[in-house]
Subunit: 80 residues, 2 copies
């Protein structure tokens, strides 16, 4: 049993209105050090058995199909 973390973020060239709203709320609410925020998704995927190359390929395919929209999002896998 292993855990793979999949981080999904909007591509840098895609506008992120949610992140912008958080950044401007931060400034208004007294957190001046924060200059920008981007919001994404984080998935904790538990897999059966060890994180072999085959299993990681399967998780990568699953992430591409179900977790991320490859047109506007990038994703990264890491084994924890």
């Amino acid at each position: 049993m292993a855990r793979v973390i999949v981080d999904v973020m909007l591509k840098p060239e895609i506008l992120d209105p949610q992140g912008e709203a958080i950044a401007s709320a931060s400034a208004r609410l007294g957190f001046p050090a924060i200059t920008s925020v981007r919001q994404g998704k984080r998935f904790e995927v538990e897999i059966d058995g060890p994180a072999s190359e085959t299993v990681l390929t399967e998780v990568r395919e699953m992430a591409q199909t179900l977790l991320a929209n490859p047109v506007i999002e990038d994703f990264e896998l890491r084994v924890e």
Copy 2:
């Protein structure tokens, strides 16, 4: 200029129907290695200047106020 990552996940005792939906879709769509999925949020927070203790305290307060609901969610900070 530094970047702080804030990971927000539902507390372990809180049900995650979105994650469960992803896990059962994975099984159905031919990704048998995946046994469970939990979905959370990931924020990339850019800060002015270096990630000093004062600034990290500010980001922690901001995360608690704006990014996470401490009743049902846990969050973690890490400097990147």
